[in-house]
Amino acid sequence: MPLPAVPTQVAVQMIMPFEYLDHTADVCLRGTGETVEEAFCEAARALFNLMVDLERVAPKRSQRVSLFAERLDLLLVEWLSELLGQKDLTDLFLSRFHVDIRQGKDGFHLEGEGWGEPLDPPRHRVKLEVKGVTYSGLHVAHEGKIWIAQCVVDI
């Protein structure tokens, strides 16, 4: 089934990678990008890719979030944990993301949107549930030419 059109800025970020680092009990996910926003989007894709086959999740419906944290790394935990928590209320599993981050006087504001569809276990080839987002391995930084957004999630 062809995927519906998505906003261009979202399509562009799809080519940016995410990966998983070795952790014995759980999983350390890492999103990267040319901007911190792209890295946050990739970290979110890494999160949902642990639960479903991302390529099979069509961006049919969207969900917006608005968050604040004092620091960028704490903002990453807020972002991922918000997406994780909301999925049980909306039933939406997301595969595409767009994020804007603005630095304010007291910290960082995030306006984000995710696109996805309600879970369909056989079609989405479900994998495992993610229980929570930890401060372990938490790292958001501009290294060389790329931004990294990573942390350990509990499986």
Partner: protein
């Protein structure tokens, strides 16, 4: 800079991580040489996560008493190591979210049946199909019991008792659940609305990851006296349910991780790693978190109670077994924090004991054990891998002295999920189990690969180390006949 950890061997299966630097107490690790070598290799290879560092960092926390402990199933976690135990003075100490984890009171329920292995011949596959249909499992599964917000609050206060009142299981079950399935002090107002809303559809669901439902047979009795007390005999069919507090517990963990991050800064607690964010036990934040953990624990007890009922209904349908004939042997959690009384340097003290991937394992004579089990101590339930074996163990007097009455909870992972998924194919794992006569019904083949028996340490070795250290005593060995994986 490379890290150095000096380990002193106390006995075959006990090691001391000597106090140094900011450590307030030493670390004490109960493990065999292979496990210790693995932990040291992680350090030498500069792995980002190593359990020795985690033991050391726990030993640096304010108010920690005697030693930071790791049990034979130790492996790196976040905050505490998995298989970690930390006991804290109530006045000076802290309560640590990473000492409990997100799956609050994740644990195991063991149900006994009057059946023997032969009684299942010819119907095992049918039983597997029925259990697979009856017990909701896997990502996105939904329970049959739908609760309103008020009802969720009642469940959080009353735990397993609440769902028994709703017709799931019998009153007799409660006697054989740790803390009778209802931890006091659970105030639902300290649990966020989001946590409760996430639970609406998840009561009575198994989840995924390492959670499972197994129909097993008792293949070996090691401690006949305790086995008789627990009602276990060779050849008997039993059922184990491994699950936790589901989304409600996860959200409590997430909410309080954030709150404790702020509390750690506010109280200027000297933590070595952000994974160990915490609050003074007696602070408002500390008290609220402990009450939230009680809520999460009660949710987990209720969850296992509902699933036990569903399992009984399957056995009734397929084998005609009356539901009251499947007794609860015990139900015990392994991600907890509890106020307990322990003898420290000759004085009985109230301590806050965190157990992350570790169970309570109280030896003979403790009033916390059900009356019927008090003489030998309550059972502890050690989940093995789905292709090998699980164990029923019990606590010992030595374990009370040396390990705050704590026990191993499983085999402990040896390979990361990523490495396991690279090394094993879910279908191959399933075939290998089938060749061993074990039926597997799974919701995710990827999950099966990650949970392959080879991804875990050898449970026999872990049980042996706990036994050799004298902290736990094996009672019975259980082998799976059929496995339902989320």
């Amino acid at each position: 800079m490379s890290e150095e950890f000096t380990l002193k061997r106390i006995s075959q299966s006990e090691w001391l991580l000597e106090k140094s630097g900011e450590m307030r107490v030493p670390g004490r690790i109960f493990a065999d040489i292979q496990t210790i070598e693995q932990l040291q290799t992680d350090v030498a290879e500069k792995k980002e996560w190593n359990a020795l560092r985690q033991v050391r960092d726990v030993a640096c926390l304010p108010g920690i008493v005697t030693a930071a402990l790791a049990l034979p199933d130790v492996h790196p976690g976040y905050g505490f190591p998995i298989g970690g135990v930390g006991a804290f003075d109530l006045k000076e100490g802290v309560v640590v979210v990473g000492g409990v984890g997100f799956d609050i009171n994740c644990g195991v329920r063991l149900l006994a049946t009057p059946l023997h292995k032969e009684d299942l011949s010819g119907v095992l596959s049918e039983l597997a199909d029925d259990l697979y249909r009856t017990v909701p499992a896997g990502l996105g599964s939904e329970g049959k019991l739908r609760l309103t917000l008020d009802e969720i609050d009642q469940l959080l206060r009353e735990g397993a008792r609440y769902v028994v009142k709703r017709g799931y299981g019998v009153e007799e079950d409660l006697v054989h659940i740790e803390e009778e399935g209802q931890i006091p002090g659970a105030d639902p107002t300290v649990v966020s609305r989001l946590a409760k809303q996430r639970q609406f559809r998840q009561v009575g669901t198994l989840g995924s990851g390492n959670h499972y439902l197994e129909v097993q047979t008792v293949v070996r009795i090691i401690d006949p006296e305790a086995a008789a007390v627990y009602g276990l005999e060779e050849g008997q069919v039993v059922t184990s349910i491994h699950t936790g507090s589901r989304a409600l517990g996860h959200q409590i963990g997430q909410d309080y991780l954030k709150e404790m991050e702020q509390a750690s800064r506010r109280y200027q607690i000297p933590i070595r790693s952000r994974e160990l964010v915490c609050a003074p036990i007696l602070s408002d934040e500390g008290k609220r978190y402990l009450s939230a953990v009680a809520c999460g624990s009660n949710c987990a007890f209720a969850n296992r109670q509902v699933i036990a009922h569903l399992v009984r209904s399957s056995f009734a349908r397929i084998l005609g077994l009356a539901e009251e004939k499947m007794h609860t042997v015990y139900d015990i959690g392994h991600n907890n924090v509890k106020v307990e009384h322990h003898l420290v340097d000759g004085t009985t003290r109230a301590l806050l004991v965190h157990r992350k991937g570790s169970t309570r394992a109280f030896g003979p004579g403790r009033r916390e054990s059900p009356p019927a089990y008090r003489a030998v101590g309550h059972p502890t339930l050690v989940g093995g891998t789905m292709g090998t074996a699980s164990y029923v163990m019990r606590g010992t007097n030595l374990g009370m002295e040396k390990a705050f009455g704590s026990g191993i909870h499983g085999a402990g992972r040896a390979l990361s999920r990523r490495k396991a998924a690279k090394k094993y194919w879910g279908k191959d794992v399933k075939s290998a189990m089938a060749a061993d006569g074990i039926i597997l019904r799974e919701h995710s083949l990827r999950g099966v690969a990650e949970e392959a028996p080879g991804a875990y340490k050898d449970v026999e070795r872990v049980v042996h180390a706990a036994t050799d250290a004298g902290i736990n005593q094996p009672v019975a060995c259980l082998r799976p006949l059929l496995v339902i994986k989320g």
